[in-house]
Each structure stands twice: as structure tokens, then as C-alpha cells.
């Protein structure tokens, strides 16, 4: 199978790789970019373990070919920790025991990152609806729900603590 050159931008960094047209974004991130934080749980678009953010939107990277993502901004779980400091979402997941085996975790983090950073006011039903995009076999979700709620609150607090001029 023929490989074709491809330029990807992941977490702000350029990656020049060569892949077959049929290779998914998930496999390309993992195998060609060395970013193994994105996991593959089903390869058919149901579990959400492979969720990454493309152009600001949560996307199942097992349902997208890498070549389709050329020229787009891609964010993976590896982008969340900044200079050794965990993202509020990561902190909240650790604090509320929202992960066990951790295999689904990168997908959940990338799924809800947007809602957290926008400080969205989600009702319980809306939050459950959002989280129902992804599957977790270990936690029973209750602690994930708690963690995301806590992260939204912390993010809002932090944002309002920043002095007006610095915003």
C-alpha cells in the first residue's frame, strides 16, 4: 500500500509523516507522531476512547482519516499538562477518583475540555448527555460527573480571579 506525505499540526507542533490514505487519525497520532495518549477502544466510533479535539471540536479520531486532518489544528491529551502543571480537569479527575484503568480517560478529558474552558452552565441532564458520548467500563461514571462539575467551577473561579486588565 502506497504511503503519501502528510503535514499535521498537533498540539501546536508540526509533524511531517507519510501514511496510507486509509490510515486513521488515531493510528497516525499513535504510530507516526508517537502520541500514544490517544487510545483506541473499538475502532468503530462508539466508545470515544480515541476522542481528540480538531479545530476546537471533539472528534472521534478512529472515524477520521489522517489525510482529512491536514492543515487543521489537532489537540490531544498530551497538550493538557503545561510546564508540569496539571489542567484543572486533570486535577479534578485525580481528586474525585474519576479514573481507574485510565484507558478511557484521555477520551473523556478531550470530550469535555471545551465545556470546561467555556465555563458552560450544564444541567445534570445536559452533563450526562454530553458524557454519554463516551464509554467507561471501570468507574460507573458518577465520579466522572463529579470531577467535570468540579472542574467547571474551578475554571470559572480561576477565570474570575484574573484581574480585569489581564484578561
Amino acid at each position: 500500500m502506497e504511503r503519501h506525505p502528510l503535514n499535521l499540526t498537533v498540539n501546536g507542533k508540526p509533524y511531517a509523516v507519510e501514511t496510507e490514505f486509509r490510515k486513521t487519525l488515531a493510528d497516525t497520532l499513535r504510530e507516526d507522531c508517537g502520541l500514544t495518549g490517544t487510545h483506541v477502544g473499538c475502532e468503530h466510533g462508539v466508545c470515544g476512547a480515541c476522542t481528540v479535539v480538531v479545530e476546537g471540536k471533539a472528534v472521534r479520531s478512529c472515524l477520521m482519516f489522517a489525510h482529512q486532518a491536514e492543515g487543521m489544528e489537532i489537540e490531544t491529551v498530551e497538550s493538557l499538562e503545561k510546564e508540569g502543571e496539571l489542567h484543572v480537569l486533570q486535577e479534578a479527575f485525580a481528586e474525585h477518583h474519576a479514573l481507574q484503568c485510565g484507558f478511557c480517560t484521555p477520551g473523556f478529558l478531550m470530550l469535555v475540555k471545551g465545556a470546561v474552558e467555556r465555563g458552560e452552565e450544564l444541567s445534570d441532564a445536559e452533563l450526562r448527555h454530553l458524557l454519554s458520548s463516551n464509554l467507561c467500563r471501570c468507574t460507573g461514571y458518577q465520579n466522572i460527573i463529579r470531577a467535570v462539575r468540579a472542574a467547571i467551577d474551578t475554571f470559572k473561579e480561576k477565570a474570575s480571579a484574573v484581574p480585569e486588565a489581564a484578561r
Partner: protein, 779 residues
């Protein structure tokens, strides 16, 4: 046992989390050694067929394909064609060990037939599809009851029947119990459990011998020791010539405790071609080739006194074993002994038949037969309560084993021959807590009000006793290293439950409380004798060894410091990774210095200790199992017109002895309940009459998502186990056991106006609708 800074019993954060949250976890598929090739398996598309030839030519001509191997190619490298992994049992009459690759007959869809090696997985899969195999389809056994008919086709051509084993349990005078009973209740049950569905499938990486001549095998397994033993036996290897390790596991839940043909075949092939090989299971393979739990058919009778006391219980169980033995008789055995455990029952008789079918082998799934047993016992009690006209909670309170009976010896034996002894707990009190939290007393008012609006609410309950801490032991070594860091090494295997955190907490409790100064290595197969992770055992058996090793290291640490500080050990304490003279500022020695001194100097006496080093390796042997218990209460709303069940509230009051980390206990329970809700309402492996699995994607086989989870309330009580120094019991399977029966009880209660009887799980909308229709419900 309280020391300077408590970690035991605290809801501390997990030591595992940082790596997993930042994308730095190392799961099997993340390991990519240079020159590694990919493996795909060609699998049987038939539930039963014979074949003679595998034409590889087209596959070998495809781009990127390196090799194709069948049984004939691997056989010269194997000591045995078949993988013998079943636990021994005298009751087994047929030998059904699975071949590493199919030899001339395939007996379930998904059975591996050939192994394809290529530069990448996609190329390997393309080539596997291009293999030409001359399958001749044979008659299929797809139903475990029909499999017992005298004229049934057979699962294996070489056998003339399908009954792998018949055995039974019996105590007390059962006939007498039924002879003059005031009430006799009869029910038949069809209890299905599906597949494990860990989010990460299985996988294996084999790297041929390095400079030291050591073969490295990595596997996403719960039992690395068993895998190492099998690889040594099957490939004729010296244990010193192979290292078996586990990376981070993306869940286990039972099936990963089995040693699988793919692990042997991939390793044999890597040795044969001298290149690193990796096989990673995809989701479809997980559905067709990883062990699952599936069907049990029960016919039961219960005899009761007029006041609701149980006189006796008898019946028969047919258990679907699948096509091969992947583990043994432990699931039906576990089901059979679990049925009467929570209650005082003087007479019990159960006949068990373990039956082969042309389906993927059955092996333990979270709960391992106990959820089915609880389903049967709790449904029988509901039926009895209805017959007698008692409240469902009262008939249970009347029959539950009481606190004053503890320890309570049951006339039943564990598979190793020791008697089952319920070691501690107050079962009636736990039930009362659950009822209280769930508002059981006030429910009839809620139900009535809803009914007036045309809504059908129901409440149900179920008790359970979970056998945990399967012995005999697990090794744990604790060492204060020359750097001052504490290293804990164990054969206990982690699969996401927080095993490292649990061990670090137990060790830190004795050694100053700084968990950040502790490294835990799980799944060790070089120095640690042991078994790995299953049966909710690790906190109990590895925890006991960790506690003992840490206590010994503490003594040594203090002895060395006492010698160097010229003080009495009793006057010393551990503070910030140093040993200090109590109340005297500045008189302390860091762990690193003490560890250095403990190694000794040529010509000098060891400081205060008889053996060098600050280490201890322990295997605390615990033969008896320790029993956790609890009560679940579910509240549901059922729509009789659509059969839809909506969970409104769920309570679990439980007792798992002393808790090492309450937050982690909650996590285990919540995950177990989610799995139990799946077993109650959604998860079903469907096969057609040709043995073809019809649910092989996550769009067909439904896992519970956040949207289906009700509010869950957990009530903890702690009755320490007398069987280990820490008083702990296991909890990994607690949540899953009572969940389906509690929900079934609630659904039956909601549909009481229609007279519906719930006798199966899962309760799909179709099942509920059918039950309403059969009961003559007008809705």
C-alpha cells in the same frame, strides 16, 4: 498499628493517576520496539467445521506480508499442541483443551486458525482475509439445554456427547424438608451474563532474546505468573530465559486471567522468525475470542414453614461452558455454593451439569458465577414472600445469617476442600441500613401516588455475600533502597483498581506515611511467587504480605538507627523519611544513610541487625476466604406499554471489613454496579442457531453510559475480618452481585398490577413487554 502519619484507611489520591491523566500511561499497544512486526489471526467464520488445507499463496504474495503460520508450522516449536489451563476437577469427563492454532476442526466462531505476520496490522488483516481454507461446515450445538438431548449433534467430532461434567451439592435432609412443608415455591430462571468488555482488549508483545539471552514477553494479562509457567512448558524454556511483564492494563474484569492461545502462538512465532511481534486484540476479536460468561438455566424449588422460615432448597443448574475449557468448573461451582450463603438453610441439594456448546469458551467475569446465584436465590425469596404474603424485606430478615452466629461454618466446601466459614458481619443490620437509606417504608405511598398518575414505580432488594481473598498467598517485598526510596515489589497484578496505591498505603502506614517516597512494582514474575489479580483477592492476600513485610522493615530501620544514634528503639520515630529521636531536635538519620549502614562494611559488625539490608519479602498464607456482604435496593419506573425500565434510585449498603481507602472502595462499587445494571437491563451476547454471534460491535452489545446511571448511594459499614492482621476483605466484585436481582425485584414490583413474574436477565424492553403480555396485561 497506628504510626506517625496515617495512610491506611484514608481516601488519599492514587499514585497511578498522574501518568494516566497526562497520556503517559504505557498500555500494551503503546510499546513499540524497533523492528516490531504486527500479527493478525485468521479466525474461524463457522461455529463448527472441519478443514484440511490452508492455501497461503495469495496471502504471502501481498505487500508487506512476512509470513503465515498454521498449526503445522508452529507444531515443531511446541511441546504440546494444546494449551492445558483448566483447574483440576475429578468431575470432568471430557478433555477439551484448546489447540494453540486449530488443527483440523474449528469449534467456535473466532477460533484462531492461522497467524499472519506483516509490516503493519492493516496488511496482516488483509492477508488473513486472503487465506483460502477449505472449511466443511458441521452440525452446530448452539443451545446448552438442547445440547443434552440424546440425539444432539456434538460440539467436538471426537466426543459422543456434550456433558463436560455433572456434579452436585447436598446437605441436610432435603426430601424431609419438602415432605411436610407449609409452602413450596417453584421457579425456572434463565440468567445471562455477557462479555467483559474491558475498554482495552487483550494483547501480547514478544521480543526475541536480547544480549543476555532473555526472551521478553509483555501481555495485557491479570496473571503474568501463569503465563510465564505456560510459556516455559509449551515452548520448553528455562524460567531464567524468559521475562514476563505486564504494562498498564486497560481493565481486566476476569477474562484476562486466562492464558490464551494467541499469547503462546505470538511468542512461538517471534522465536521462530527472530523478530519482535505484537498482537493487539480489536473489538470484534474481543467479542468472538475472549472468554465470556453467558448462560445459566436454573430449575429451583424452595420449601418454607408457614412463618416464612426456609426449610430447604433444591434444584438443577445447566451451565454453558462453551467449546473449550479456559479455566475449569469454577463458575458453576461458585454459583452453586453461593446460592445458600447469606441465609440459614438446613437442607440444600443442587445438581449441576456443565455443557459444551459451539461458542467461545466461558471463564470468570467480574463476580464469577456469584451474580447468577444471587439472582436465583433473591428471586426465589421474592416468590416465597408473595406466596406467603410477607414483606420481601421481612422474609429476608427472618432467614439471614445473624451477627451472633459469626463465625458461621457452612456445610459447603471451597474448591480446595476447606469449609466455607462466614467470618464476620451483621447481615440483618446491613439490610436495615439499605432499606432505611432507600426509604423502603415510605415507598408504598410514593408508589400509590405515581399509580394515580398512571406511572408504574417499583422497589426491590437483594442481599449478597461475596467470597473474597482467594488464597493461599501473594508475595510482597519491601526494601528501603540505598537512595532512601522504598521499593515495593509484588506478584499481585494491577488492572486499574488501584493496587499500587493500596499497597503503598499499607507500607507507608508503617514507614512514616510518605507515599511519594514509595515505588510499587506489580506483576513481578522474577522474584515473586504468586498468582496475580482475580477473585477480589489482592487487598487481602497481597495486603497481608505487604503489612508484614513493612512491619519487619520498620523494625530493622529502627534497630539500625538505634545502634547508630546510641538510643533505644522505643525512643525513635519515623519523620519525613528519617528516623529521629523523639522530642530531640536534630538527632535524626535519613533513610538513605540507614540503608547504606545496613549493607555493612568489610570487617565491621552489622549495625543492630543480624542480616544485611533493610528488606523483607513475605508471603502470608491465608487459606480461608473472607466474606464481604451487603444489600442493594433499586427503585425503578417501568412503562408497561414499551417495556422500558428507568432506574430512579439505587442504594448499596455493604461491609468489606476495614477499608484501606474508602474512595477507592466507592470506585470499585460504582463500577461494579454499572456492570450489574448492564447485566440487568442491557448486555446480551446474542447468537443465532448456527452459533454465529450477532452482537459483535458496541453498537449492538450495549454498555451502560452516563445517561443510564441513576444516583447511587453507598453506605459503608466495617466488620473487620478476623482472618488477616489488617481486618480487610475484598470488594472488587461486590457491586455487580446484587444489582441485577435488586432491579428484577423492582421491575416485578412495579408490574405487580399485571401479575408479572420476572425470571430472566437481562430485561430488555422486549422481555418486559412479553412478560406483561403473557401475564395478560391489558396495557
Amino acid at each position: 498499628m497506628r504510626n506517625e502519619k496515617a495512610t491506611f484507611g484514608q481516601s488519599v489520591r492514587r499514585v497511578e493517576d498522574r501518568a494516566l491523566l497526562t497520556g503517559k500511561g504505557r498500555y500494551l499497544d503503546d510499546l513499540q520496539p524497533p523492528g516490531c512486526l504486527s500479527v493478525a489471526f485468521a479466525r474461524s467464520p463457522y461455529a463448527h467445521a472441519s478443514f484440511t488445507t490452508i492455501d497461503k499463496d495469495a496471502a504471502l504474495a501481498m505487500p508487506g506480508v512476512i509470513a503465515v503460520m498454521s498449526h503445522a508450522d508452529l507444531a515443531p516449536h511446541l511441546r504440546n499442541d494444546r494449551l492445558v489451563v483448566g483447574l483440576p476437577s475429578a468431575a470432568i469427563t471430557l478433555k477439551v483443551d484448546r489447540p494453540v492454532l486449530a488443527i483440523d476442526e474449528v469449534v467456535h466462531v473466532g477460533e484462531p486458525v492461522a497467524l499472519v505476520i506483516a509490516e503493519n496490522r492493516a496488511a496482516a488483516e488483509d492477508a488473513a482475509e486472503a487465506l483460502d481454507i477449505d472449511y466443511e461446515p458441521l452440525d452446530v450445538v448452539s443451545d446448552c439445554r438442547a445440547a443434552l438431548e440424546p440425539d444432539s449433534p456434538t460440539v467436538h467430532q471426537s466426543h459422543d456427547h456434550n456433558c463436560l461434567a455433572s456434579f452436585g451439592f447436598s446437605f441436610g435432609d432435603v426430601d424431609q424438608a419438602f415432605a411436610d412443608a407449609a409452602h413450596i415455591v417453584r421457579r425456572s430462571f434463565d440468567v445471562h451474563r455477557g462479555a467483559a468488555m474491558s475498554l482495552e482488549g487483550r494483547g501480547v508483545l514478544a521480543v526475541p532474546p536480547d544480549l543476555d539471552g532473555v526472551l521478553s514477553v509483555w501481555s495485557s494479562t491479570q496473571t503474568p505468573q501463569a503465563l510465564k509457567t505456560q510459556l516455559c512448558q509449551m515452548l520448553g524454556l528455562d524460567p531464567l530465559g524468559i521475562k514476563v511483564r505486564t504494562p498498564d492494563l486497560g481493565g481486566g474484569f476476569g477474562p484476562k486471567l486466562v492464558t490464551y492461545p494467541e499469547e503462546i502462538a505470538t511468542t512461538a512465532a517471534a522465536l521462530k522468525i527472530g523478530r519482535p511481534l505484537k498482537w493487539v486484540e480489536d473489538r470484534r476479536e474481543h467479542f468472538v475470542a475472549t472468554a465470556q460468561e453467558r448462560d445459566q438455566l436454573w430449575d429451583m424449588e424452595m420449601a418454607l414453614e408457614a412463618d416464612g422460615r426456609i426449610r430447604g432448597l433444591r434444584g438443577a443448574l445447566i451451565h454453558d461452558h462453551g467449546a473449550y475449557t479456559a479455566r475449569g468448573l469454577n463458575i458453576p461451582y461458585g454459583s452453586a455454593v453461593t446460592v445458600p450463603l447469606p441465609y440459614n438453610i438446613n437442607a440444600y441439594k443442587l445438581d449441576v451439569q456443565v455443557v459444551l456448546t459451539n461458542k467461545v469458551p466461558v471463564a470468570p467475569l467480574r463476580g464469577a458465577g456469584q451474580p447468577q446465584a444471587a439472582f436465583v436465590m433473591e428471586r426465589m425469596l421474592d416468590a416465597a414472600a408473595e406466596t406467603i404474603g410477607m414483606d420481601r424485606s421481612e422474609i429476608r430478615a427472618l432467614n439471614l445469617v445473624r451477627a451472633d452466629q459469626m463465625p458461621c461454618v457452612k456445610p459447603l466446601k471451597l474448591r480446595g476442600g476447606t469449609n466455607i466459614t462466614l467470618d464476620s458481619g451483621d447481615y440483618p443490620a446491613t439490610q436495615a441500613l439499605a432499606l432505611d437509606k432507600a426509604g423502603w417504608q415510605e415507598f408504598p405511598a410514593r408508589q400509590k401516588a405515581a399509580l394515580a398518575e398512571g406511572r408504574y414505580l417499583g422497589i426491590g432488594l437483594a442481599n449478597y455475600v461475596e467470597g473474597t481473598g482467594r488464597g493461599p498467598y501473594e508475595t510482597v517485598s519491601v526494601e528501603v533502597q540505598r537512595t532512601g526510596r522504598i521499593l515495593v515489589t509484588t506478584g499481585a497484578a494491577a488492572m486499574g483498581q488501584g493496587t499500587e496505591t493500596m499497597l503503598a498505603q499499607i507500607v507507608a502506614e508503617q514507614l512514616g506515611g510518605d507515599m511519594a517516597n514509595i515505588t510499587v512494582r506489580t506483576g513481578d514474575t522474577t522474584g515473586s511467587l504468586g498468582f496475580g489479580g482475580f477473585n477480589s483477592r489482592q487487598t487481602v492476600v497481597a495486603g497481608a504480605s505487604a503489612h508484614q513485610a513493612a512491619c519487619t522493615v520498620r523494625e530493622k530501620l529502627l534497630a539500625v538507627a538505634a545502634d547508630l544514634l546510641e538510643a533505644d528503639a522505643a525512643d525513635l520515630e519515623i519523620v519525613d523519611n528519617t528516623v529521629a529521636l523523639k522530642g530531640v531536635r536534630g538527632r535524626h538519620l535519613p533513610f538513605a544513610d540507614l540503608a547504606g549502614a545496613a549493607l555493612g562494611l568489610p570487617g565491621f559488625k552489622l549495625p543492630g541487625i543480624k542480616q544485611p539490608g533493610l528488606l523483607s519479602s513475605d508471603q502470608v498464607v491465608i487459606d480461608d476466604m473472607t466474606y464481604s456482604n451487603g444489600t442493594a435496593v433499586a427503585e425503578v419506573e417501568v412503562d408497561p406499554r414499551t417495556g422500558q425500565v428507568c432506574l430512579l434510585n439505587f442504594v448499596l449498603a455493604h461491609d468489606c471489613g476495614r477499608m484501606v481507602n474508602p474512595k477507592l472502595v466507592d470506585g470499585q462499587i460504582l463500577g461494579g454496579i454499572a456492570h450489574g445494571i448492564g447485566n440487568a437491563l442491557y448486555e446480551q451476547m446474542v447468537f443465532d442457531e448456527d452459533g454465529q454471534p450477532l452482537t459483535t460491535t458496541l453498537a449492538d452489545y450495549l454498555l451502560v453510559s452516563a445517561a443510564e446511571m441513576p444516583q447511587i448511594h453507598i453506605v459503608h459499614t466495617e466488620s473487620p475480618s478476623p482472618l488477616n492482621a489488617l481486618g480487610v476483605k475484598g470488594v472488587g466484585e461486590s457491586g455487580v452481585i446484587p444489582t441485577a436481582p435488586a432491579i428484577a425485584s423492582a421491575v416485578e414490583n412495579a408490574l405487580a398490577p399485571f401479575g408479572v413474574s420476572i425470571t430472566s436477565a437481562p430485561l430488555s424492553p422486549q422481555t418486559v413487554r412479553r412478560a406483561v403480555r403473557q401475564a395478560g396485561g391489558a396495557a
